[in-house]
Subunit: 193 residues, 2 copies
DNA sequence: ATTGCAGTAGACAGACCTGTCTGTTAACTT
DNA sequence: AAGTTAACAGACAGGTCTGTCTACTGCAAT
């Protein structure tokens, strides 16, 4: 058919569907059959692209990680030059996400389905470490007295907000988180302006 | 055998095992067969006590809710009479839990495995509401200017800490959370002493 | 034109899932 | 001692899971 050349490659379609279904319903709740049915791909194609379902899961998490890192960076860019404002910008973005009805953190969700020590846990831990390191760079740039602790506290607040958005429309919660973050940043960073 | 009379009733043994396995491995990852094998119960017994696996899951969550509420109350009792100290006591308890290697919040974990709108989500939302209401009573008693917002912020911090303890040994994180909570409480509650 | 490649469609195997059913054993009650 | 009840052991049904395999289709490049 004529749309064949314009259609996204099979691997991408699989991952598109995986992101949608795994994120909304959980990983174990979505079988390979449903995955291929909704992505319009033959089973053999899926197993050619990915040796097993676990590899689809890993690729799903890696893609989500990419999205997050990209999102964080563009959020910071949009928030201006002041690292303090960039940090608060992250929480503003969370507020928007909560208003749109996000379904929580894909990594926390994935870790919930697996025993500690599993690959999903490892990828989740790695993602959290990366985000925390990124936040830590900002808290350090903001001149925080103890950038590590402040970064830790802010990421805990982020994770709490994300967890809340999984179970309810948490725009109020996200607003409260933004406000708390602002206060924590203000009190931890001596302002030299 | 002679231990039969001292043995816990079948229903309790099923729930004991459910708490252990569902919490550690996730709900979908644990089948009924494994449940009965590890609790030493016949399949017919399980299906006599619970109409379906979903009912086991609901009972599991209800028991976890009980445990939490009980734990919160005894934590508050142990922390003294001052509501501010009781609030901080919750975070001290989280620190202990993180040190023992807790596996996160059973409700956040359960919600991650189901689509929004499911029973697991409803029970989770109800649990979170109850905890938040309990914390709100304390923030009000502590004389917070805006007890609702402070309660929201503290519960977000709690959830974030719990989410972190699922993916890593988060004793440092829990300590940072306690410190942040202390600061938030101090700045939000005018101290009349 | 033909060869190769990537994808589609779908049958199939074997394991595991939930849930039912039949029988047996052991304890408690009267 | 007899009867009742609860629990045990495990076969079984019907469905779904992951993963493999065969056969067909369309496109692209030589």
């Amino acid at each position: 058919m004529s749309t064949a050349s314009t259609r996204r490659p099979a691997r991408d379609r699989i991952l598109d569907t995986a992101c949608e279904l795994f994120y909304a319903h959980g990983i174990h709740a979505v079988g390979v059959d449903r995955l291929i049915a909704e992505s319009g791909v033959a089973k053999a194609t899926l197993y050619k692209q990915f040796p097993s379902k676990d590899d689809v899961v890993a690729a799903y998490l890696r893609r989500m990680d990419d999205r997050w890192q990209r999102g964080l960076r563009s959020t910071a860019l949009a928030a201006g030059d002041d690292p303090r404002e960039q940090l608060v910008g992250v929480f503003v973005a969370l507020e928007h996400a909560a208003r749109e009805g996000t379904l929580g953190c894909a990594f926390i969700n994935a870790a919930a389905e697996y025993h500690p020590g599993s690959t999903a846990h490892a990828i989740t831990a790695e993602h959290k470490r990366a985000v925390r390191a990124w936040v830590r760079d900002l808290t350090a740039a903001a001149g925080a007295a103890d950038p590590d602790t402040l970064a830790l506290q802010l990421t805990l607040l982020i994770d709490g907000t994300l967890a809340a958005t999984r179970v309810e429309h948490a725009d109020v919660a996200a607003g409260a988180a933004r406000q708390a973050a602002q206060a924590m940043i203000d009190s931890a960073c001596p302002q030299p302006d």
